[in-house]
Symmetry: C2
Subunit: 292 residues, 2 copies
DNA sequence: TCAATTATGTAAGTAACTTACATTTATTCC
DNA sequence: GGAATAAATGTAAGTTACTTACATAATTGA
């Protein structure tokens, strides 16, 4: 729902460029976002000390078809952007703020990723993954390495030989032993690490199919046979871990789910065996997430 | 925004229990969710072949104060529940469906986690983490192990000695060497793995503070000094990886961010050093996510 | 300074929602 | 089965809220 994000952003873009009276309306609206959808035009006009026609004009200025349209669209914007704050209003506790920010940014970044994702490369990637006899996931640099590890953790369950490597030396040695029935899947948020680019280049020289999940327009994106590419913003708050790696993990889940659905019988049997293998390791035999 | 989820759920609960004409309205509304907020009462009445007063009654039956209130609340419900589907309407491509499902479930699970999270244990956990001289993250079983690894990847940047271990043997040996200035942080979606419980028990015997992120009411939850506990549903679709581990990673991010904010100078300097250390490893020196 | 353009408010016009009441339908009780 | 009661329903009047028109005020540019 890009229309959802756009209305709050739109008002923020317009902020400071509006005629005097409309600016008063904008100030009031931006300062009372969650209540506005439930207020009448007259109530807003009174609170902002302007006429009702100015409120209507402001709604038109934002690109809506009128105040009615504005109210509905704002309700949607507010609902999405505030869904992780406390239901009783804005939670002012330090922890509440942290949760709202981390969860909200993740949600926004998921929305952005969704708008950027092209479905055809996703479907082609699922086909590549489903057709591979062995998948080698590569990632370097902490989080990307962990995403690669988690990818292997997902795909081994589907009955495809899957492994993950973060060590650049091992990566380049390993790709030298692969062939065209295998698949190299490189994961990197920046698309720039030299070691990763070298390993992928070597894989291609040996005719190994290559796939990547990385930054749009990067060297890695251009280098691999197929790329799922995204241009996600870096978080302005340096103290906050990037939402990007969680989005990458969710995309791995999309690919894993798509691949699983292409081989349901094998997957089901594997999951059953996995569950059985885990039974003796717990203090009781209650339900466990088989997707863990 | 639990009110957001409730209206669609509410209508689904009421489905089949309504008077005849109101049931026609419900059928039409549930079949055209994304358009309803932009239709008038009269338009809905005509489409459902009922009177306008019946549409108003239906709105009242759902618990709203009238049709105006209903429309706003429905706009919010729809915006949240459909935010990851294609902006042009429901995407019927296989990949679009996968993305919508994975992203949507993650968003729902984040919302559920938010409603369950208690802020006081989160703040206490941040204090424990900030006060530890060394943090040892434990997870077993694939994804929890990867969450633990990612946690260590987050916390080492804050200037706290941080490590992750998935091997039960190493875990129990290691906790035998810790003392009360250290912290054991156990991560498990089920809260039941015997090895993990044993290691935590040994840690406690040696007076090592213990923290966990795990299933509410589980043995691990009861065992540790402090627990961030959640009761998240297992996904009914066996082919889909669980959203839970992504939610757990997001909660680790909350804790990491909270801890970082308690030591801003140290963190800033560490992040600067980390970025500097990474510079020679890329094919160019463009911006990289420092949170990676 | 003046003319043209833009901004603004008031009030009339219109759309849409809410409420009242009469009629119809369904349920309950004898 | 029939009468009484309760619930459901539609029509239309009443009310609210939004939209539009127009006059006036303020701003901009030559």
């Amino acid at each position: 729902m890009n229309t959802v994000i756009d209305l709050i952003s739109r008002m923020r873009e317009l902020n400071g460029t509006l005629p005097k009276r409309e600016q008063l309306v904008a100030d009031f609206v931006l300062g009372n976002l969650d209540q506005i959808p439930f207020l009448s035009q007259h109530e807003i006009a009174k609170a902002a000390d302007v006429s009702v026609a100015t409120v209507n004009r402001f709604a038109m200025t934002t690109g809506c078809e009128g105040f009615r349209d504005f109210k509905i669209r704002l309700a949607q914007s507010v609902a999405v952007s505030q869904q992780y704050f406390d239901a009783n209003g804005i939670d002012t506790s330090p922890a509440g703020q942290l949760v709202g920010k981390v969860f909200g940014t993740l949600s926004d970044t998921l929305g952005l990723a969704r708008s950027q994702l092209e479905m055809q490369p996703v479907e082609n990637a699922v086909d590549m993954l489903n057709g591979a006899q062995r998948i080698v996931f590569f990632g370097v640099g902490g989080s990307s390495a962990n995403v690669a590890r988690e990818a292997a953790n997902r795909f081994f369950r589907l009955g495809i030989a899957s492994e993950a490597h973060a060590d650049g030396y091992v990566q380049r040695m390993l790709v030298s032993t692969l062939d065209k029935k295998d698949l190299v899947f490189a994961i990197s948020s920046s698309g720039q690490p030299a070691e990763l680019l070298d390993s992928v280049t070597i894989a291609k020289q040996y005719g190994v199919p290559t796939l990547s999940l990385t930054k749009a327009g990067s060297e890695l994106a251009a280098l691999t046979d197929l790329c799922i590419q995204l241009d996600l913003p870096e978080d302005p708050d340096i103290y906050k871990p990037s939402a990007q790696r969680l989005v990458y993990t969710a995309i791995i889940d999309v690919l894993a789910m798509g691949t699983a659905r292409k081989r349901p019988d094998r997957v089901k049997e594997n999951l059953r065996r996995i569950r059985t293998s885990l039974l003796p390791l717990s203090k009781d035999s209650g339900p466990r997430p088989i997707g863990d």
